[in-house]
């Protein structure tokens, strides 16, 4: 395959970026999108140019490190797929592909396509945990949990923290991320003790970090590589309202 790539280049957070156009040829349909980038970067290095910076690590769709807004879509056009698992067979020969970084005030660009997602770290630190010190646990089977609850909690917990929800949301809202975390614990007996505080504190932190407000468009769910449901957002709203009444 031969492709035209329009890629956002930006030296660092303080400089102005712009699109640069590259032609790539002999791209195999077996390649992943990032392997196609590898081929381009190898060429740039050989030409003595600075390769394109992009985030990636596990390349098996679980670490949440990869990002990229490809042809207007977070993680590209395939539903339920991270960029590292997106394969070139989903593109057409001769196609022009535009690649941009995640765009959100809360995710400032570090370089080229790399953005800073440590805002998520702060939200997690504000309440995304059960306060149990090591060594205090009772036997695991002392706490039977209905399979349906455990499964629902697991689905919420399968969030990889990639930030696609924020990137896809027209308001750059982090509600899907926060709601997945709040839901994971709200659905389990272990999470009950801190349930109200967790919802209040995580939302407070989210608001302070400059994410937008959710308007229930559902883009986040559609773009989430782990297909996390916006049911979780409704649950977070509920948790938050109840917590407000309680506290």
């Amino acid at each position: 395959m031969n492709l035209t790539l329009k890629i956002w280049r930006q030296h660092d957070g303080n400089s102005k970026g712009d699109f640069v156009t590259y032609q790539v040829s002999d791209i195999s349909t077996e390649m992943s999108f990032l392997e196609m980038f590898d081929v381009l970067n190898e060429r740039l290095v050989n030409e003595g140019k600075v390769p394109i910076a992009f985030d990636h690590d596990c390349r098996e769709g679980i670490c949440g490190m990869c990002s990229l807004h490809i042809n207007g879509r977070a993680h590209g056009p395939q539903a339920g797929t991270t960029t590292c698992q997106l394969h070139m067979r989903h593109f057409k020969d001769g196609e022009t592909i535009t690649v941009e970084p995640w765009r959100a005030q809360a995710f400032p660009v570090i370089k080229d396509l790399v953005v800073d997602r440590t805002a998520f770290e702060k939200i997690q630190a504000a309440g995304g945990f059960v306060s149990v010190n090591t060594g205090n646990a009772q036997d695991a089977n002392c706490l039977p949990i209905p399979k349906d609850d455990a499964d629902a909690s697991f689905f919420a917990a399968s969030c990889i923290g990639c930030g696609a929800c924020v990137a896809a949301c027209k308001n750059s809202s982090a509600m899907l991320f926060v709601s997945a975390k709040v839901s994971q614990f709200a659905l389990l007996p272990q999470g009950q003790v801190e349930r109200a505080d967790r919802a209040l504190n995580m939302v407070k932190e989210m608001d302070a970090l400059g994410f937008g407000n959710c308007t229930n468009t559902g883009s986040c769910e559609a773009e989430c590589p782990k297909e996390i449901s916006i049911d979780n957002i409704a649950r977070l709203n509920r948790e938050y309202l109840l917590a407000t009444l309680k506290k």
């Binding site: 535009t98 959100a104 027209k170 468009t217 309202l241």
Partner: protein, 230 residues
């Protein structure tokens, strides 16, 4: 409470609650309008309008209604501004159309048009009747006739119709979104709310849309729709 009202979820809750209140008003307004079709020469319509003005409770609700409009609009402006600030650099290519509905993404636009229409509507009816008293006079027996006259004006009818269509778009997202925001939604109920919202939007669209269309057509056909029963 202040913390709640300034939080993102709190702000959304205010939008949802004020919106739901406005929806209730729309239902009431639609009922009143339907009386135009009673064929009694507008007597029922005029009397309903009349009696509402006399009832204290309605006068109180009217104040709440204005407040709700104000809160809904002000909050919407605030949220839109915040949301826009949350992404100062926009995407060069935006594929949002593949992942969300037009209605859900354009609440600001549809809402603005509706607000503009409300202003026009108030200017045409509420202001002259209730404030300046420039039309209607003591008896106020001519409200129905004035409404019909307005509907027969192609420009006004056109504005009315466009606004009603956008109102339907607005409602189709608004209702289910409000339930979602209030936490009254999950995998089981969400599809139901979506259908209810869509059905409600279509109902309201047809309901309000029927006035300009039918009265305009009736005029073209030289029929007196207001007095068909008499």
């Amino acid at each position: 409470m202040q913390k709640f009202l300034t939080s993102s979820i709190g702000k959304k809750t205010v939008m949802a609650l004020s919106g739901l209140f406005l929806i209730m008003f729309l239902l009431e307004h639609l009922y009143t309008n339907v009386t135009l079709f009673f064929g009694d020469g507008g007597i029922e319509f005029n009397e309903t309008s009349h009696s509402m003005v006399r009832m204290i409770i309605i006068r109180v609700i009217e104040i709440v209604l204005f407040l709700a409009v104000f809160v809904h609009v002000a909050q919407a402006i605030l949220l839109t501004k915040e949301n826009s600030n949350a992404r100062s650099v926009k995407y060069a290519v935006n594929g949002a159309k593949d992942t969300s509905s037009w209605n859900s993404r354009n609440m600001g636009f549809t809402g603005s048009v509706i607000f503009f229409f409300i202003v026009v509507h108030l200017y045409n009816f509420f202001v002259p009747y209730r404030i300046t008293g420039t039309i209607g006079g003591a008896g106020q027996e001519t409200v129905a006739q004035d409404v019909v006259a307005a509907m027969e004006n192609p420009i006004y009818a056109g504005i009315y119709l466009i606004s009603v269509i956008l109102l339907a778009f607005h409602l189709s997202h608004a209702l289910s979104s409000a339930f979602h925001t209030l936490g009254m939604s999950n995998k089981k109920y969400m599809p139901i709310w979506d259908k209810v919202a869509m059905g409600f939007a279509v109902f309201m669209g047809i309901g309000f849309g029927s006035f300009p269309i039918l009265f305009f057509i009736a005029k073209l056909m030289h029929k007196d729709l207001l007095n068909w029963g008499m």
